[in-house]
């Protein structure tokens, strides 16, 4: 007898439908698994056999053939266990096959017949809904995550025996509550901007970066607070919308790092500078998302930027330009989302001592700065210095009121709303994502300001790209102030955030 069961597997962070076909016929008892399975799937034969027998079900002593279609795609992981077991049950007439037509199943089996959680349930549920299935059966531990997807019925399955009962209509699973954080429940307190004393200049730069989605470079000695400041950026970015939260959760579910609940905050990733190009942008024999993908819709922090391998930093070119990473493996191309704000940090010079006791030679300085050039730095709109806060201010000093993250976030959200309205129909969501052409069209300059920028170019070495960067940042400053037209002070302030020594080196 023949049966077919639908399941979903991860293809990057997207869902790929796999049909598990099971054929049961008379002959010598064998169990064959075809369709490019990996070790974990081939071993699932043993798990399925034990799980069926331990659940009081029958393991047919016949010639069993399981095919995972489409047969040309390599498949990996233990999430096929459940579909294979249920396919066997259907093919050996232990459960009614018609019950399975509208169902997709995902899950790993234990030898006792219990269901174990798997990676990427959210993605599987999304894929099942898109493919038109009305119901998805998942391990109990993954149910809340799958239930985030609306428009599909999610059933939490504790054991294989219960699943058989369900298909026979002898048991009804309880309703599953989606894993959305309870609005009444206090949200976990992230690090707050108000905890940082002093650093008003860096805070202003962070606010502009958040408001316009600009990449930021912080320059300062070790211990000045660069990491502390960068960690507070997700807290002043607008809270993720439901769709963004789904994207974040989907990525984290695929990478197996989520907690199964819908993300309420944007991610903050800070990979160490020894990271490989694959680690940063994704890859590997079984392609896994890289740090830039894990930081999707959030912040990627690169501390000690000059220490990163050149190849790793250069690999960020495509994600920074397109907001996604394409990875070629064999004949297939995988696509990972990768839209994050990059915050980089470096020292002023290789010795990292204050200017009046620095012993670096000009050659060393030039070499250090040259390590910072390249596609990443070309995409950095804002540069600010971070100096250590004087001890007086740290321990006591005037207890001036410091802005809380929530206040800054409110200003950022207002600025983003203005951008959304203005950029509607361009496919771009914030100023930082505008390319050169869009910048020139979107940032109308009054004659006086245009003339001023032109005059400035005599004194300040401003490349075409540098010019666009200044305009983008000025536009964001203006949005923060709630103005439609740029004012001179916006352009002046934007000029002070630019970094031109690299342009000088490149020249």
């Amino acid at each position: 007898m023949l049966a077919a069961v639908a399941t979903f597997t991860l293809d990057g962070v997207h869902a790929q439908e796999v049909t598990v076909e099971v054929d049961v016929r008379r002959g010598l008892p064998t169990f064959t698994l075809v369709g490019l399975p990996d070790r974990a799937i081939r071993e699932s034969r043993e798990r399925v056999r034990a799980a069926l027998l331990n659940s009081g079900l029958d393991f047919p002593q016949k010639r069993l053939t399981v095919n995972l279609a489409p047969a040309h795609v390599r498949k990996a992981g233990p999430s096929f266990d459940l579909a294979i077991a249920v396919g066997l049950l259907a093919a050996s007439a232990q459960v009614p096959p018609e019950q399975l037509e509208d169902c997709a199943l995902v899950g790993e089996l234990s030898l006792s017949g219990e269901l174990r959680p798997v990676r990427g349930t959210l993605t599987a549920a999304l894929g099942a809904r898109r493919a038109g299935y009305g119901r998805v059966l998942v391990p109990e531990a993954n149910a809340a995550e799958a239930a985030l997807v609306e428009g599909i019925d999610v059933s939490a399955i504790p054991t294989l025996a219960r699943l058989a009962d369900l298909l026979h209509g002898r048991w009804t699973p309880g309703a599953v509550r989606p894993a959305v954080a309870d609005p009444d429940e206090a949200r976990p307190e992230g690090p707050d901007l108000a905890d940082v004393r002093g650093q008003e200049d860096a805070k202003r730069a962070l606010e502009i970066a958040a408001a316009g989605g600009h990449n930021l470079l912080m320059i300062g000695p070790p211990g000045a607070g660069k990491t502390m400041l960068a960690r507070r950026l997700p807290g002043i970015l607008p809270p993720p919308s439901f769709e963004e939260a789904l994207e974040i959760t989907q990525v984290h579910s695929a990478a197996g790092i989520g907690n199964g609940r819908l993300a309420t905050e944007r991610p903050f990733r800070a990979p160490h500078h020894t990271i490989s190009p694959q680690g940063l942008v994704g890859g590997g024999a079984r392609p896994m998302p890289g740090e830039i993908t894990l930081a999707h819709r959030g912040v990627l922090f690169l501390d000690e930027l000059p220490e990163f391998a050149r190849a790793a930093v250069d690999a960020l070119r495509q994600p920074l330009e397109e907001g996604s990473v394409e990875i070629m493996r064999g004949q297939r191309t995988l696509d990972f989302p990768a839209n994050a704000i990059v915050v980089a940090a470096c020292n002023r010079c290789p010795c990292a001592r204050p200017p009046d006791s620095c012993s670096c030679t000009t050659v060393e300085l030039a070499r250090y700065q040259r390590r910072l050039s390249g596609p990443l730095v070309d995409r950095i709109d804002l540069v600010c210095q971070v100096e250590p806060v004087p001890t007086v201010e740290l321990v006591g000093g005037p207890n001036e009121r410091r802005a809380r993250s929530a206040e800054v976030r409110a200003r950022v959200v207002a600025a983003r709303m203005r951008q959304l309205a203005r950029l509607a129909g361009t496919g771009v969501l914030c100023n930082g994502d505008m390319d050169g052409r869009l910048t020139r069209r979107q940032v109308p300059l009054e004659a006086s300001i245009a003339g001023r920028l032109l005059a400035v170019r005599d004194r300040i070495p401003l490349s075409g790209r540098g010019h666009d960067r200044v305009l983008r940042v000025a536009r964001t400053i203006s949005d923060l102030e709630g103005r439609d037209l740029l004012e001179e002070s916006d352009v002046d302030e934007a000029l002070s955030y630019r970094l031109d020594s690299w342009e000088r080196i490149a020249a």
Partner: protein, 367 residues
């Protein structure tokens, strides 16, 4: 212009021929070849040639000076021997003046060297930003006053002094340790060309000769010999720049140094010179005072000092920028918000009151 007697030319080519052997002789700490270079031809052969003496004699016999003259003239080189009238007279005061000067660039420069006192600006290759700034400013100031700047076309201070001199519209003279057409270090290919275009690259070694260890201190004696005053901007101790200073002292010329930070390794040499009584130099005017007498000549101002901005906010920020190293500190000093301070700084830079330092930070535009 080829103005060289046959015996001088023979001597110059003999030194070039023996160059690798001299390198072998002067191993270890003895790096100055002055003693050798002062010897007459037969003694030089005996001292330097060793078992290669026959080959050297053969080389001399085979040398066709007419041929070489034609080749040098075709290459556009200027060649002067000690007996030529255009040979820099100051150089003859050396105990071992180079028999022949091979030069690439503008021939008129030799006339300038006869007329005007030149200044040698030398220093370390591992220059600090401070030393680089000073070397550039003095090179530029001297260039603008028409004082030829002699240096060694090396990385660091030397190259920067040449650049400053070129930017000031002056006459750079580069004395190199290889043939005048050989670019060393390679990174200075562009600078080599610019110096040839406005001044001279000269050497006692014929075109095509590669540099040797000994030829660097040897060319230092030529730099010291050409200049009325030798200025060391930044130098470690011991260093090639101090060798140049020693040659200048031996010639009875003025030696000057730029004071440096006492903890900096590249200030040990210069501060040591100052302790011994070298003239302390803090700007182009000090050099001019030493050369022409106090107050006789003054460096022209590159640009009129920018007027003070009218806006009191801008004025306050400009003042604070002199004292403070970060935007944060400026904002604190003026009591303005970070955004206001940033806007003021951008404004001041756009209007030319401030310039950007490397990797953030501002300083007052030089005047």
């Amino acid at each position: 212009m080829i103005d060289s007697c046959t015996s001088c030319l023979r001597r110059a080519f003999l030194v070039a021929h023996l160059a690798p052997r001299i390198a072998g002789l002067l191993g270890g700490r003895e790096r100055r070849a002055s003693g050798l270079l002062a010897l007459p031809e037969d003694e030089l052969l005996a001292a330097a040639a060793g078992e290669g003496v026959e080959a050297a004699v053969e080389f001399l016999e085979a040398l066709d000076t007419e041929d070489e003259r034609e080749r040098l003239s075709a290459g556009g080189f200027s060649v002067l021997c000690t007996h030529a009238t255009a040979y820099p007279p100051l150089l003859r005061q050396l105990t071992d003046p180079p028999a022949v000067l091979f030069a690439a660039g503008r021939e008129e420069t030799f006339a300038v060297l006869r007329e005007d006192p030149a200044v040698a600006v030398v220093g370390t290759r591992q220059a600090s930003p401070y030393g680089t700034e000073v070397a550039y400013a003095i090179g530029r100031g001297l260039g603008a006053c028409g004082v030829p700047v002699v240096s060694g076309l090396a990385l660091g201070i030397d190259g920067t002094a040449h650049r400053g001199c070129l930017d000031g519209g002056g006459v750079p003279v580069a004395v190199v340790a290889c043939g005048p057409d050989v670019v060393y270090p390679r990174r200075h290919r562009g600078l080599h060309g610019h110096v040839c275009g406005s001044g001279l690259v000269l050497s006692e070694l014929p075109p095509g000769t590669e540099p040797y260890r000994w030829s660097f201190p040897a060319r230092n004696r030529i730099m010291a010999g050409l200049a009325r005053l030798t200025l060391v901007v930044e130098a470690a101790d011991p260093s090639g720049s101090l060798i140049t200073a020693d040659f200048a002292k031996d010639l009875g010329r003025c030696v000057a140094a730029v004071p440096g930070r006492v903890t900096s390794s590249v200030a040990q040499g210069t501060n040591g010179l100052l302790k011994e009584g070298a003239a302390a130099i803090t700007g182009t005017d000090d050099v001019l005072d030493e050369l022409f007498g106090v107050g006789v000549r003054r460096a022209p101002r590159a640009r009129a000092a920018p007027s003070v901005p009218d806006d009191p906010l801008l004025r306050g920020v400009l003042d604070a920028a002199d004292r403070c190293s970060s935007v944060e500190a400026i904002a604190r000093a003026t009591g303005r918000s970070a955004a206001q301070t940033r806007a003021a700084l951008g404004r001041l830079e756009a209007d030319g009151y401030l310039v950007r330092r490397d990797l953030g930070g501002w300083e007052r535009a030089a005047c």
